[in-house]
């Protein structure tokens, strides 16, 4: 069932490095998580990919609900954990007719640390630089099957492999606007004769406060208009040591969203539209991706 392997797999990166504090919606920021404080983030992703250049007319839908927690170990060190629940389904035309293959379950848990190595706090702005690094653990099922047999690896909830990720996050924040950038790599390893291609990602986010126009007393809630861009480039997958020519590629998204920020919670939503989508070979192109989420601030008892 090679057709299933053709799916552009960057979806696995979707939750690998992206929970955080206020700031960008689709990627990590380096704004602080206070010590003895936690930020819990729940998200919902919908990914649709139907632009199939092959006669298979593949139609991919991914629903994912990653729950992330960020804990401030010290004022500069934050620890992150992400537990995703995912459903992936693909409909495609085969010699026996139109079929659908689907998996649901716990995905791979990601844990990483972020340390602020440089911070300049001014009264009207803050600038920080924070590298981050961690691992993705093979907690998700990578060998599930349906009535047609074992489901192709990119459709499995888990990758089966221990993978490493690392990068750098840089925010500049004022009360009126915020600019965030991050970049990093994810190094994937082999499991059961299959290895996902390594990934490089770079993101940019601009958030502009559209309400309130003037700040009042106390701590007013903010409404931000958000524009983001995401670039993901992924190498080809390897199956039994052979490179899959129809996997990997480069995609660049432009995202438009809104973010409502209060002292204790954030509600946000964003739509990611591919501006550049160049999958290798006969890879499937994304139509769009929608993300909605909530974040809560929590004080820890220790």
């Amino acid at each position: 069932m090679k057709v299933g392997v053709l799916i552009v797999p960057a979806i696995l990166l979707s939750w690998s490095a992206r929970p955080a504090h206020a700031g960008p919606i689709t990627f990590l920021t380096a704004l602080p998580v206070a010590s003895s404080q936690a930020v819990v983030r729940g998200q919902y992703f919908l990914i649709r990919a139907t632009d199939d250049p092959t006669p298979a007319e593949r139609d991919l839908t991914v629903h994912a609900v990653p729950v992330a927690i960020a804990v401030g170990a010290t004022p500069r060190l934050a620890l992150f954990g992400i537990v995703p629940i995912v459903t992936k389904s693909i409909a495609l035309t085969t010699p026996i007719g139109r079929i659908t293959r689907e998996t649901t379950g716990l995905g791979d848990i990601v844990t990483f640390a972020r340390y602020t190595v440089y911070a300049v706090d001014m009264e009207e702005s803050t600038f920080r630089i924070a590298p981050f690094g961690g691992i993705k653990m093979p907690t998700g099922d990578s060998g599930g099957s349906d009535a047609l047999g074992v489901v192709p690896r990119p459709l499995q909830p888990g990758s089966g492999s221990w993978d490493g990720l690392g990068g750098l996050a840089v925010p500049y924040q004022t009360k009126q606007w915020e600019l965030d950038a991050d970049t990093g790599i994810k190094k994937n390893t082999e499991a059961d004769d299959f290895r996902f291609g390594d990934e490089f990602f770079a993101d940019l986010s601009f958030q502009y406060r559209v309400w309130p126009r003037q700040l009042g007393a106390g701590v007013p809630a903010f409404l931000f208009a958000v524009v983001e861009t995401n670039v993901i480039s992924q190498g080809r997958n390897e199956l039994a040591g052979a490179s899959d020519p129809d996997s990997g590629g480069t995609r660049g998204d432009v995202d438009l969203g809104l973010q409502y920020v209060t002292t204790s919670f954030i509600v946000e939503g964003i739509v990611q539209i591919p501006a550049v989508d160049e999958p290798n070979g006969a890879g499937l192109r994304n139509d769009y991706r929608f993300t909605a989420g909530v974040r809560w601030n929590m004080a820890l008892p220790f």
């Binding site: 206070a34 010590s35 004022p75 009264e123 007393a217 002292t263």
Partner: protein, 124 residues
């Protein structure tokens, strides 16, 4: 000649001494005046300049850490003014260093701290 010159400088010496005495008396008066306006026991509210605090979500940690200080009865944030206002029970033993550390624990930088008299309801 020397005697005349010496005599000529005497008024200048008197003037310098007079200015010094007046300044010293002014300083003493100022000290007593400030003490009268805000006796140590009444200055139970710290207005802390917080650098780096730029959004509502960031204010959460600052309020929580300041509210945990010994004797603190409430902590409020004035985001537009870059200030946190902490009210303490009268006679609470808290130092500027402890307040600065609380702001650091929240991930930000404390600036000037001004003590003033305040009531628990004042910042509400």
């Amino acid at each position: 000649m020397q005697t005349n010159a010496h005599r000529g400088r005497q008024p200048l010496h008197r003037l310098v001494i007079g200015v010094v005495v007046v300044m010293a008396l002014g300083q003493v008066a100022s000290t007593f005046s400030a003490a009268a306006q805000a006796p140590a026991g009444d200055r139970n509210q710290a207005v802390v300049t917080v650098r780096g605090m730029q959004c509502p979500f960031c204010a959460y940690g600052i309020k929580k850490h300041l509210a945990k200080l010994t004797g603190a009865t409430r902590a409020d944030v004035e985001l537009a003014k870059n200030q946190a206002i902490v009210t303490f029970t009268p006679g609470a033993k808290v130092t500027d260093a402890q307040i600065q550390q609380a702001v650091r624990n929240a991930g930000f930088t404390a600036g000037a701290i001004e003590w003033r008299a305040g009531t628990p309801d004042e910042a509400r």
